[in-house]
Every structure is written in structure tokens, then in C-alpha cells.
Symmetry: C2
Subunit: 348 residues, 2 copies
């Protein structure tokens, strides 16, 4: 199982919420931003953070990894598991990540900013994620001077992050809102509130697996807690709307919905060749099927884990020496069938 | 199970051959052909055949049915089971069928000709079918004068049947030839030999379920046995070609083929809404899967039976009071799932 998912506790939001994330952008004074620094400066910066982490890492639970020292598949596996960003990979010659043992706390060094501190928790837990981020941030500040302006707050490479430097987000599973074409309307309403929603997998509004991320766009003029409260309230409204439409569909188009859920199950259990796109589509319906009482042999977290694991590089990692695109899809089908065989609870 | 399928014995051709059929066209002297007769003449003709059948029906195994006395769904069920022709339904106000208990021998009265005598046997057994047809035909001729010309043979409503009046056909399951686009070539070769091939289900070259019928086009200038021998020999060549291409596909595109077979199985077992078109497609792949050693929990005959039973009117008959097109597809999915649950042999 993807490590940060192991922290999952059952909550009342498991039918819709996948994860909560806080990212803080911080920069050192007296250094250029990563996009214009040379490799010596990059090294100096990483050394500063590695040293700072050693000072605060009492339980020695952090690992320091240089992006250029791991292979390209492993880099993309980390990205698929939401542990590192595309930007960190782009800067691989100068970038590092410093991650704790359970993978929920991660310092990306020389991403767009000198530091992107990320806390990623399964479930709906933005305040807890912020608490962890803030404690770590404060400890780092005991040893490091972050670029800070009394009027503007934390200074960042991109002005859209200046202020708190905080980006808070929740990942939601919204198959019914997607099916009913409600997302454009939600997108428009959120924009007016300074929030944004986007598909997690796939380009544009494609949103493979019906996974969406809601996050704040404003980082200036509001405290972190204000931003998080607002995001949380809006997320709850969207969760409730998603739930209502699921029930509505089950009431009005019961056979249609059952067909989608059970065909998904049949295909996942029997296919011998399957693309990531198709697998995510079916897993999305199956996840909704749990909520609607149509399926109960895997739980939400197992399906979320499977959705993460069937992505391209996770599959490539599962077994190297692939020769063709078709083999990736064959391997994915094998992986999924094995998963169902091993993990499904027999409760008939 | 469709009754005539119950006669099925295992043979070496079960991987491809579904059934063998002989149809003899016969007409009474002194009567107009059905398309220009009035209802009194039609009644006289049916009386002649009903009386003739009584004379030869020692075991009282024949049933006489007037098409206008059964409801329209039942008429179409008979057609879907290949027991009666569309023409017989078109003439329902004047047409009858006289069928034996096991349904392999059937006299259609006032179809395009006064009599269409049909023998339909499961498997590859044209000579046996012809033998049964000929014996019955001879017995009828003891009491009835059929229109016969010493130069032209039996006279028929449509000149293409004049001569022997015999149409012999075999129904073949040709998924690999269809998948590989070989059928147009076969069609052209057969035409040169006075034979024809056409899809059994669906319009034109659509051929739902990959079921094809090969039959003779010529009825003049050859004896019945010559025609049957030729048809049999050509059918064997096509059967062998189909077998070779199946093995070729399994060797060269093993995953592709397995994916088709197992997805078919998964969808049939899990779908809640399924059209006849889709069900036939999947059943076709599953039937081929038996031959390729990919599936063994139903046998050929059970799948053939299911292919017959999932047709529209068979499904409507399974439960009346349907309100919409969707309900037909829901009922079909229920029927198929029940079938698999009840009939699949557990041999894991």
C-alpha cells in the first residue's frame, strides 16, 4: 500500500474525500530563486536544509534523496503517489526531497521555491495537516531566515504564492457530479470565492477516475486558518451535493447505476489488457458502489490505493523489462486481478 | 433449452458447426401459389396436409398450429429458434406449421410454397437431415400429388427453387474469420461454386454473434446428394480455415484474444443492462474460448442455446409486461446472470 494511505482512519467523509494537503512555500534570504541559480548555489541551499532537518529530526526518521540519484521511473512513481511535484522533477539536477518515514511530511528543495514543505494526510484533515506543517516550519525558522516582508508576508518565486505561502487542498471523488455534468457550475462558483477545482489525473476537464482537487488561490490578505476554514466549509457543501446526486441517481436510474458499478467490477476482475484511463474509470464506479451499498468486498482505502497503483509508472515499477505499450496494459490487468484475488474479503 | 438442441451429440465439429438444415419446397397441382390464393384455397391446402400428416403420424407426435391462433411474440420466438421463416409469419392469416415433438421436423404450410418441409439438426449432419426429409417427403407423396415436371423437377413459386426444391445449409460459428476480415474473400469464392454465405443474425455483413449460414444456390442440374456432398466438403474447408486462424491468433496475439474472451465472460456475468447485439458478441468470444482452452465451465451447446435464448422475443417471452427498451436489456442481463449461476460447472 502507498505509505501515506496507511495512516487512514475511518471517518464520516470516506465516501468522497481522499486526502488533505498543505503546502508552504518558503525561500532563503540572499539566494536567487531556483530557476536562475547555478549548481553551486543549489548545493549550498540543499546543505542548509539538510543541516536544519538534522537539527530537528530527533527520531532520525527523515531520508534525504537527491533527484538525480534515483532513476526516472522512481521519480515518476513518487509523483504519481503525490509525494513530489512535476517541477521538482524538472529541476532534478539541483533538487532534493527530505521525507519522513511515513511519507506524510516532505520537504521539496529547489522546486519553484527553495522550499516547498508538504504535509499530505489521507482523509479530511486540513487542520491537522496545517498543524504539522506549521510546527515543522517553526522549527526550521529557529535555524533559517526565510525571506519575509512585514507588508507582503513570505516572499515567493511566483507572486501568486506571496503572503502566507500556503496552498491548502482536498482531493475529492466526485463521480456523480461528473456524470451529471455539474462540475462547470461548481468551477464557476468556486472561482468567485477565490478557490479552484481541477481534475487530478488527466489533462483539462478530463479528470480520469473522477478525482478532483479543490484548493485556495489567494495567499494574501487572509490568515492560514481563515483559508482552511473556508476551504473546509465549501468542501463539505460539495461533498453533500455529491452524496445527494448519488442517491438521486440510485433512486431514478437504479439499473443504469448498478450496470456501471457491476460492469466495472466484471471488467476489472476479468480483463487481460487494460489502460490506466479505463482502469481509473472502473475503479471510480466501484468506489461509488461501496457508498451505494452495491459492493462491499473492498473498502474505500483499498480502492484509493489501487487507483494510485495502476498509474503508468507504478505499473512499470511493478515489473521492468517492458517491451511495448501493450505489455504495460497487460501487466496492469494482471496486477488488478491479483489485487482482487488477494484483497477481496469473501463475505457471501 | 431450445428443443432441437437437446438432440445434440458430441462430434469433432462442435467447435465451429451449430446446425444442419434441409428445406424442401413442394407444391400441390391445381392450386395457385400462396401469394395469390384466397383464404378458402388456403384452408383446403392446409386440410390436405393435415390429413396427410395424420395418415403417416403413427406415434401421434405431430402438432398442428395455425399462425393466426398464436400471439405475435410466440410467432417471433419460433422464428428466432429457426423453426419457422419470416415468410410464414407474413402469411399468418393462411399459414400453418406442423411440427414433431422434438422440433427437428417441421412442415410449413402456405409459406412461399404450399409446403416447405424443414429438417433442422444440431451439429454437422446434412446427410441424416436429408434422409429424414426424404422419408417424410416420400410418405407424403403416397397421398399427395406434388407439382413435378419431368424436365424441370419440382415446380416452385420462385424459379430459383425449381428442380430438387432443396435448400441445404449449415450454420457455422466463424469468429476468427470475421475478426481477420476473411469473409468477403470466402463469399466471393463460394459464389463461384454456386454456394452462398450470409450472417444469421443482423442485417447485411453485420453478422451478430459471428454466426454464418452456408447454403446452395443451385437447385437445378444436380442431385440432392451431389449438392450436399459439395456443401459438406466446402464447409469442412471453411471449418479448418477458422480453426487455423484461431490457433494463429492464440499464438501471435495471445493477450489480445484472452482479453476478448475473459472480458466477454466478465461482462456477461456482471452486466445489469445488455443489448442482444452486445450479448451475442460476448457469447461468440466465449464460445471460441472453449475451443482455445480458455474457458470450460459451459459447453458448446449451452452457449449455442444461450445465443438463441437472448434474442429479443425469447427475452420478451421470458417475462411479459415490459415497458421500455431498457427493461428488455435489464431482463436479458438478469437472464444471462441466472444462466451462468445455474449452469456453470464449478471445476476450479
Amino acid at each position: 500500500m502507498v505509505r501515506w494511505l496507511e495512516l487512514k482512519k475511518d471517518t464520516e467523509y470516506d465516501d468522497v474525500v481522499i486526502s488533505s494537503r498543505i503546502r508552504l512555500a518558503r525561500n532563503l534570504t540572499k539566494y536567487k530563486f531556483p530557476n536562475s541559480m547555478n549548481s553551486e548555489e543549489a548545493k549550498e541551499i540543499s546543505d542548509i536544509f539538510i543541516k536544519a532537518i538534522k537539527n530537528i529530526d530527533e527520531n532520525k526518521e527523515f531520508t534525504v534523496v537527491s533527484l538525480k540519484n534515483i532513476d526516472s521511473i522512481d521519480r515518476r512513481v513518487l509523483m504519481e503517489e503525490h509525494l513530489i511535484s512535476p517541477e521538482l522533477i524538472k529541476n532534478k539536477d539541483i533538487s532534493y526531497y527530505i521525507i519522513n518515514e511515513k511519507n506524510f511530511l516532505n520537504l521539496m528543495i529547489n522546486e519553484e521555491d527553495h522550499l516547498r514543505l508538504q504535509v499530505l494526510l489521507p482523509g479530511f484533515d486540513l487542520h491537522q495537516a496545517f498543524e504539522i506543517a506549521k510546527v515543522t516550519d517553526n522549527k526550521l525558522e529557529e535555524n533559517i531566515n526565510f525571506a519575509f516582508d512585514k507588508d507582503f508576508g513570505y516572499l515567493t518565486s511566483c507572486p501568486t504564492n506571496t503572503g502566507t505561502g500556503m496552498r491548502a487542498s482536498v482531493m475529492l471523488h466526485l463521480p456523480a457530479l461528473k456524470l451529471g455534468n455539474y462540475l462547470q457550475g461548481i468551477m464557476d462558483s468556486l472561482a468567485k470565492l477565490g478557490l479552484t477545482i481541477r481534475g487530478v489525473y488527466g489533462e483539462g476537464s478530463d479528470a480520469l477516475g473522477d478525482m478532483f482537487q479543490i484548493s485556495n488561490q489567494r495567499t494574501l490578505g487572509f490568515s492560514e486558518v481563515e483559508v482552511i476554514d473556508k476551504l473546509e466549509n465549501i468542501a463539505i457543501k460539495i461533498i453533500e451535493r455529491e452524496r445527494n446526486i448519488r442517491r438521486e441517481l440510485l433512486g431514478q436510474k437504479s439499473n443504469y447505476l448498478k450496470d456501471k458499478v457491476y460492469r466495472a467490477l466484471g471488467t476489472l476482475k476479468y480483463a487481460r489488457i487494460i489502460s490506466d484511463r479505463e482502469a481509473l474509470k472502473h475503479l471510480s464506479f466501484l468506489r461509488m458502489g461501496i457508498d451505494l451499498g452495491l459492493y462491499n468486498r473492498l473498502n474505500y482505502n483499498q480502492i484509493t490505493n489501487l487507483m494510485l497503483s495502476v498509474q503508468k509508472y507504478n505499473i512499470l515499477k511493478y515489473k521492468y523489462s517492458l517491451k511495448s505499450f501493450e505489455e504495460e496494459n497487460v501487466l496492469r490487468a494482471d496486477y488488478i486481478r491479483d489485487f482482487f484475488e488477494q484483497e477481496e474479503i469473501i463475505n457471501e
